[in-house]
Amino acid sequence: MSVVETAGAEDEDDILAAEFVLGVLPFADHAVLERRTETDARFAARVADWHDRLLPLSGDFGMADPAPSVKQALDARLFGLPARRSAAIWGSLALWRGLAGIATAVLLLALALPWLRPDPARLVAALADPTSGVHYMAVYDRDGGAVGLSHVSGTPAAGRDFELWVIEAGRPPVSLGVIPAGAPSARLTLDQPLRAAIRPGARLAISLEPAGGSPTGLPTGDVVAAGDLRDL
């Protein structure tokens, strides 16, 4: 009996996940599956399982120290340290990352001061995208049922607005509101039914919408930043 020939759709997906993890497929097919891991949570879970199943083989990979210049080049690229001047695009990335780092530190400090213990009433997410340069920090306050947003970088094009969404695996995005343009911080109070969706692991995303927000109730423009909620 051939296992493959009797495979159902579920098994087919699982074999594809295994082939993707092994990396045996031609480049174009591999790229299609890579995109699928980003949009199909079930498939991504299959991929993760195969990575874990085959992980014991990684014991056969040796260890070797990369030259110190690798870390220097990496720091220069990510953080703009003076090791060597890199391309202009990295300069701007370094700038927003620097800003993001400062904002994160300030935010975390502000949050940590009153509550030195882990705070079950709060969730935090860093919403960022290196391509768009949009970066917000989001804190959800369970007691108040509100999302606080701290603007780090990035603004919508003239005549358009950023809208905040929450995405739970396997469900359509739900709008949490339009982010007031240009404000350094904003607070979006959520209606009671929305609050249930704000959980650790849920994803917050910001999309670019027509002024006033999406006319359809679903994102109509590109997602310009996203990040997952986690316990603080």
Binding site: G23, F27, A45, P56, L57, F61, G62, M63, D228
Partner: protein, 184 residues
């Protein structure tokens, strides 16, 4: 590689990186760069290219750290997946097989007791080896070749001297058997 890192340490460092903590990033680099460079070196077979690849790997780690927690993978599994992907992508782009370079010339060290080794129960390795052992000899070699050396179906078909579709049928069947055995 510094001793004393376990799974939770590495997870914590990745979480720190997701919060843009540079010290966490530096520590993660110190703890895991030798292993991830080893992955790139094995797949790519030369230091200059492996050094470029491992740099890309850590850029991805910095950019994607916030996705780690939703994958449900163990931390070394996640990191090694990024390194293998990066190295195999490069290998594919290069479109030529790496020569047989000896370990000394590459500066390879023996796999020491790094976090991945401690994180992986020796039993899990025995179990996987046992299940690979249940496959026909050359099929197990194909799985290993793909995982460790980045062989594609085309490479494997050439090596085992069979048509590409035959190779694919063999390997897919072997992967199903492997899963059944491991999940048993």
């Amino acid at each position: 590689m510094p001793e004393g890192h376990d799974k939770d340490d590495i997870s914590g460092l990745i979480l720190g990186v997701s919060l843009r903590d540079r010290r966490a990033f530096d520590r993660l680099y110190r703890a895991t760069s030798a292993k991830l460079f080893g992955v790139c070196l094995r797949v790519l077979g030369n230091r200059p290219e492996a050094e470029e690849a491992v740099q890309e790997v850590f850029v991805k780690v910095w950019l994607k750290a916030d996705r780690f927690s939703v994958t449900g993978q163990s931390p070394m599994s996640w990191l090694i997946a990024i390194a293998r992907n990066q190295a195999i992508d490069r290998l594919r782009r290069r479109r030529e097989t790496a020569g047989n370079l000896d370990d000394a010339a590459l500066g390879m060290r023996d796999p020491g007791p790094g976090p991945e080794v401690r994180a992986i129960q020796a039993g899990e390795r025995r179990r996987l080896d046992g299940c690979l052992g249940e496959l026909d000899g050359d099929r197990a070699a194909a799985v290993r070749g793909a995982y460790l050396d980045g062989d594609s179906y085309a490479d494997l078909a050439r090596r085992h001297d069979v048509p590409l579709n035959t190779m694919r049928t063999w390997l897919r069947r072997s992967l199903m058997r492997l899963r059944e055995c491991l999940d048993r």
